[in-house]
């Protein structure tokens, strides 16, 4: 289907939703409705391409797709959908897609109602001046209460109830109404085709044959094959080999005009040259000013990644570099641990992001990894006035050189049914939260605002919040700033030797209980060995907790069936392989999970 370029027939939009509210299913329905996928291609949730995304039912990586749609007015429109991730870790990516759109479909679950991230995303969309099309999804479910949710949307978001579309992506209800609303209500893009080129890079990917491929929204002008383009942040110039759109597969069209969404290739070797948020302009007739970009994603959580087998270091490096090509928010630098050898200190947007990267490294690159406990970035003011930002507990200077330590705080918005306000507040306070505000959105829904140390959030806060509220609570947070805190470093000694990778920074009041439960957890996780292994937690030279792993007492194959030595050897080889998955620290073999144990302890 060849489509004539006509800016008035273009609508660029994204879908914003709280995780699990059915965004991906809705996107699939759009694709199906537009007929861009054959039955065979229409796998569940086409836009979630990675295995991990499908398995976990989350969107991590943004995707874009062009949907041709013949509206009720008989005209053919191009609807460009730019998918957004739903998890709070990736809210930064949401803002990236918003900047490339004029409209947003806001999906709210018909039984869950408005959640913390719904609010956050709506505010983001409003900041970007987007036309919002509210959709109540999953109205087919028995516990759906669209009337209540519609009132919430009116009361909380101040959106006219008459604009709300009721739908069930699963059943295919309301899909056409949404597409019609996009055509009718979302304004077409308004960029001058004759102006110098300005295209916003909203994402990029790496292809080993074609190089780094920026995904772009052309705001003004035209980009076409053969043209020389310039990255406005670096001034680097490339020649365009291919320009195209997402059908959803990349399809060359030779040209993209103002208002259109697509990709280009230009033999760009390094993905850093396609920095997300950058503006592409023409090299011969450059625009004067870049588009307003967005600030660089800042990692919130750091952890160490080490290969179990030290020989895999180079492979790990290569794998991280490759992942970074498609994930600009991943940062890493070399780290050397006394216990674990060479590895990388990596920064992530959040805990989910960290888990996903770790899982991809293991799955897609076959690496056997040790992940150390995540840490936030602490600000340390030394007695000599020097200020350090510490992303790794082992780098904390000795106590006598520290004037003060500050830790990052977030403003957390917790949305919870009124019945569960008690447990939610209890948890927030138990996690050193300072109460700021409580507001009734409706009679039954409450928004709590707390100031919380980020370190408390990155551990198990969300899990505990969910379990304490039977899954009803939702959470969103934004970084607020640094605040002084009485923090100490707890070291863990195994068989008398400090294991740097197990050190953690914690509030002094918590140090004893955390140290105690961590050594208990380590006792469970570290298998019994030939020798008795003492495990201690210490602050400086003071031991605050101790456990002992008793020596192993039985591991021998007795019987040798009719001289079948091969069977014995195989068994030993298998045991040996199991040990290889563990890290030898001194004389002690420590399994991978042990380095993450600090995450799973109870206070």
């Amino acid at each position: 289907m060849e489509l004539q370029y006509d800016q008035n027939r273009i609508r660029n939009f994204c879908i914003i939703a709280h995780i699990d509210h059915g965004k991906s299913t809705l996107a699939d329905r759009f694709l199906e409705f537009a007929g861009v996928l054959s039955e065979r291609e229409l796998r569940e949730q086409f836009l979630d391409q990675m295995d991990i995304e499908r398995e976990r039912g989350i969107t991590i990586k943004m995707q874009a797709v062009r949907l041709p749609y013949r509206a009720r007015d008989g005209k053919l429109y191009i609807l460009n959908l730019i998918d957004t991730p739903g998890h709070v870790d990736f809210s930064y990516e949401v803002s990236r897609s918003l900047a490339a759109c004029e409209g947003a479909v806001l999906v709210v679950d018909a039984s869950q109602g408005i959640e913390a991230q719904t609010l956050a995303n709506v505010y983001l969309a409003l900041e970007h001046d987007l036309e919002i099309i509210p959709v109540i999804n999953k109205i087919d479910l028995p516990n759906a209460d669209p009337d209540r949710v519609q009132r919430e949307i009116e009361d909380v978001l101040g959106i006219d109830g008459g604009e709300v579309i009721r739908a069930s992506a699963k059943k295919g209800w309301g899909i056409e109404e949404i597409l019609e609303a996009l055509v009718e209500r979302v304004p077409p893009p308004r960029g001058n085709v004759d102006s110098p080129l300005r295209a916003l890079i909203f994402d990029s990917m790496f292809d080993s044959y074609r190089g780094a491929i920026p995904f772009i929204r052309v705001m003004e002008g035209v980009v076409e094959k053969g043209m020389k383009i310039k990255m406005m942040s670096s001034g680097k110039v490339f020649e365009v080999n291919e320009v195209g759109v997402f059908t959803p597969e990349q399809k060359s069209t030779g040209k993209l005009h103002a208002g259109e969404v697509g990709y280009l290739t230009a033999s760009i070797r390094n993905v850093r040259d396609t920095r997300v948020g950058d503006t592409i302009t023409g090299a011969e007739e450059p625009a004067e000013k870049p588009l307003p970009g967005y600030k660089k994603a800042t990692p919130m959580v750091y952890c160490g990644l080490f290969p179990v087998d030290t020989n895999d270091y180079e492979d790990l490096k290569e794998a991280l570099e490759k992942l970074q090509l498609n994930d600009a928010s991943l940062v890493f630098e070399k780290e050397n641990s006394a216990a674990l050898g060479f590895g990388f200190r990596c920064g992530f947007l959040g805990l989910l992001h960290m888990e996903i990267i770790q899982e991809r490294l293991e799955r897609e690159y076959g690496l056997n990894l040790i992940t150390t406990a995540p840490s936030v970035i602490y600000k340390v003011v030394k007695t000599d006035g020097e200020v350090l930002y510490i992303d790794n507990p082992t780098k904390l200077p000795p106590a006598n050189e520290i004037e003060k330590i500050e830790e990052p705080y977030v403003k957390a918005t917790i949305m919870v049914p009124s019945d569960y306000v008690g447990p939610a507040m209890e948890l927030a306070e138990e996690r050193r939260g300072t109460f700021i505000n409580m507001e009734y959105l409706t009679e039954t829904r409450v928004v709590l605002t707390y100031e919380l140390p980020m370190a408390e959030i990155v551990y198990d806060f969300f899990d505990l919040l969910k379990s304490g509220t039977r899954g009803y609570a939702s959470l969103d947070y934004t970084f607020e700033g640094y605040k002084e805190s009485d923090l100490v470093k707890v070291d863990i000694l195994i068989a008398g030797e400090p294991v740097d990778a197990l050190s953690f920074i914690v509030h002094r009041d918590r140090a004893y209980t955390r140290g105690k439960s961590l050594v208990e957890k380590l006792r469970e996780l570290i298998p019994r060995q030939l020798f008795e292994v003492p495990i201690q937690a210490a602050i400086g030279n003071k031991i605050i907790a101790r456990e002992t792993i008793r020596a192993i007492r039985k591991n021998v194959l007795d019987k040798c069936y009719g001289g079948d030595v091969t069977r014995k050897r195989k068994l030993l080889e298998k045991q040996k392989k199991g040990k290889k998955r563990m890290k030898q620290v001194g004389n002690v073999e420590i399994p991978q999970e042990a380095f993450m144990a600090v995450l799973s302890i109870d206070d």
């Binding site: 030939l530 039985k554 591991n555 021998v556 009719g562 001289g563």
Partner: protein
């Protein structure tokens, strides 16, 4: 150095609940007879290819080899002696289940040359025997010992199993005490190991079987050692005890990396640095032999590294340990050169001892020997 010969008889009256070994309930005498004909074919084929050395030990294992009538046993032996040179006074063991033996039967066995009976006693705990699915009673064990003695067997071995479901230390102690009262020359003491698909293994998977934990197992192991040593047995291999002069020479070949040939279904051989395993499916086994071929399923030539590692971890199972001079003679390189770091570590921690050029595993570490062996893999 002579060769050991193992013959596998893969039949039992009934499969025990813990058993995952190659054996089938015997449907008829015909089956056994039929099988023996194939064993004879296999023996004849071997004479063509290997074995210029004397047979030093002969071992009928199973299954229940005592299901063989003296006549069938005699047929096999005759074939062997026609095709292999037999050492004088070679060790001739038959595994037997208590309750399958009669005086006359034993007499005839002895006439065929049998000089060692290994009894599958397993336990002296009557309810436990039932639970295990054993077909014999405690009383029948005692009777079998008396009969064997009367018939003139001078070398009787017991197999005992510890770590049975819900077994307590005192229950195990009781079994050991009754065992030593019957004064067998040899005792093999095995910890229960459940593999693959035995009835008990499946039960355990379903969480319906409660086995003693590793601490209890270690206690049982050391109790066996203590009781048996105090009754004049030597602990000559991790799981084996014998009165002086009654070590099982056949089994020692396994630990010393000496050659042995296994015949019969699924039997294992080690000869010319090769580990060979026979077909474990009856139709494959008989099929090969019908085609005039030895029924090998796998033939694995050990690499130098594998051979060295086996020499170490098998040798360390025995009280004699690894003779470092033998190692040098066999491989032309010193143990220290290959396993210097490991050996130094183990010596330093008192896990290995060095005595007259031998490396010996400290018996304290017998029940965790795998942890030591792993260092040589």
């Amino acid at each position: 150095m002579g060769i050991g010969l193992y013959l596998h008889i893969p039949f039992c009256w009934k499969k025990c609940h813990y058993c995952d070994f190659l054996s089938f309930p015997l449907s008829s005498r015909e089956t056994l007879h039929h099988y023996v004909q194939y064993l004879k074919k296999e023996i004849k084929l071997w004479t063509l290819t290997a074995a210029e050395k004397n047979i030093e030990t002969l071992y009928f294992g199973g299954g229940t080899p005592s299901l063989l009538t003296p006549k069938l046993l005699g047929e096999i032996l005759a074939t062997i002696s026609q095709h292999f040179p037999l050492e004088e006074n070679f060790e001739f063991t038959v595994e037997a289940n208590p309750g399958t033996l009669s005086y006359d039967f034993l007499k005839e066995y002895i006439n065929e040359g049998v000089n060692r009976i290994s009894l599958g006693v397993q336990s002296f705990d009557e309810p436990m025997l039932k639970r295990m699915g054993r077909t014999h009673s405690v009383r029948e064990v005692e009777e079998s010992v008396v009969l064997a003695r009367r018939a003139g067997i001078k070398n009787i071995g017991f197999d005992l199993i510890y770590g049975l479901p819900e077994q307590s230390l005192s229950q195990w102690e009781n079994t050991l005490k009754i065992a030593v009262e019957l004064a067998p020359e040899h005792l093999s003491v095995y910890g229960l190991s459940l593999e693959n698909s035995s009835h008990w293994a499946l039960k355990r998977k379903r969480g319906e079987l409660f086995l003693p934990d590793q601490d209890a197992l270690a206690d049982m192991y050391f109790l066996s050692r203590e009781i048996l040593l105090s009754h004049g047995y030597e602990h000559y291999e991790i799981s084996n005890f014998a009165k002086p002069g009654f070590r099982c020479w056949h089994n020692l070949k396994y630990w010393k990396l000496e050659p042995y040939i296994g015949m019969g279904l699924g039997a294992s051989s080690y000869i010319n640095n090769r580990r060979i395993k026979n077909a474990s499916k009856m139709e494959d086994y008989t099929g090969s032999l019908d085609g005039g071929k030895l029924p090998f399923e796998t033939v694995e030539k050990l690499s130098l590294k594998e051979e060295m590692s086996e020499f170490m971890f098998l040798g360390l199972r025995t009280a004699e340990g690894v003779n470092t001079r033998d190692f040098f003679e066999k491989f032309g390189t010193h143990v220290q050169q290959v396993y210097g770091k490991e050996v130094e570590f183990l010596l330093r921690h008192g896990i290995l001892w060095e005595k007259n050029g031998r490396l010996i595993l400290n018996p304290r570490y017998y029940p965790v020997a795998n942890e030591v062996f792993l260092r040589f893999i």
